[in-house]
């Protein structure tokens, strides 16, 4: 077993374990912290795939901006394990069974590939900032500009919805 396989297994186990802890912990603050662990593990996967730009953006945007926003909202509402609404046992069991069935069906459908397709690890310049920037500002410049309009409307929408009547 080489070091890439070992790192892949470690990061995958960390991501899955932190995901399970996220959906099972009572305290919403703990859930948010576990989700940040998942995002760091996924960023590790991006670095292993040599997608360095996406790894950094994932850490800055998700773990940095979005999760801090979640933490702010949770602390603003003063939520903790005592105020946490819980579904009854039967409904939770039904949720786990249906999610597990989805996983089984998708795995059975997608693992049935005869040909072995390899993923290029640690090499390749497709994920570097130079390539991505050149492509983004030539072929994809119109979607890039339209996304600024999207952000503007999201900002206005958030202010109008969050405003006191």
């Amino acid at each position: 077993m080489n070091i890439t396989t070992l790192l892949f297994i470690i990061l995958s186990v960390v991501a899955a374990f932190a995901g399970i802890m996220m959906i099972t912990s009572k305290n919403p603050v703990h859930s948010i912290l576990w989700l940040i662990v998942v995002f760091f593990a996924i960023s590790g996967h991006y670095i292993m795939l040599n997608a360095q730009f996406l790894a950094i953006v994932n850490i800055i945007v998700y773990a940095g901006a979005i999760m801090v926003l979640f933490l702010f909202v949770v602390m603003l509402m003063n939520l903790n394990a005592d105020t946490e609404p819980v579904k009854n046992y039967r409904l939770r069991l039904i949720g786990v069974i249906s999610g597990g069935s989805l996983l089984l069906v998708l795995l059975a459908a997608l693992m049935d590939i005869d040909k072995q397709q390899l993923v290029q690890m640690n090499v390749g310049d497709a994920g570097l900032i130079k390539e991505l920037g050149k492509n983004l500002f030539t072929n994809y410049v119109l979607p890039f500009e339209i996304s600024s309009v999207l952000f503007l409307s999201a900002m206005i929408g958030a202010v109008i919805i969050g405003k006191k009547q």
Binding site: I23, A51, S147, A154
Partner: protein, 110 residues
């Protein structure tokens, strides 16, 4: 690394998000599970981009791998905009009902 390993990992993360949506009643946790599912899909897209970075697809179109990663970048952009509006809705919900239990919303009235 085989692509099947990445497919399996993404499916596990996606299913964890799905189970979280089905078994929690806290609106914030449900929202975080949606983020987890988006991230699982992003990981799979990056893995597929690196799968097609060599071989016939790359010969036909040299920018095929960075196209896929730009797609992931736009998913992140949309997710950031979605989170800002969604959290504003949750804050408004909390201000009106003093709870973030989604079962309070089943009537969409009062």
């Amino acid at each position: 690394m085989d692509i099947k390993a990445y497919i399996a990992l993404s499916l596990v993360l996606f299913s964890i998000g799905m189970v979280g949506i089905l078994m929690r009643r806290n609106a914030i946790i449900i929202f975080m599970c949606v983020e987890l599912m988006l991230n699982a899909v992003n990981l799979l897209l990056v893995a597929f981009s690196k799968m097609h970075a060599v071989g016939e697809a790359a010969k036909a179109l040299p920018t095929v791998a960075s196209d896929a990663q730009i797609f992931v970048f736009f998913i992140m952009v949309v997710a950031a905009a979605e989170v800002s509006v969604g959290l504003a809705i949750i804050v408004m919900l909390y201000r009106n009902t003093h709870s973030i239990d989604v079962n309070f919303l089943n009537r969409l009235k009062n």
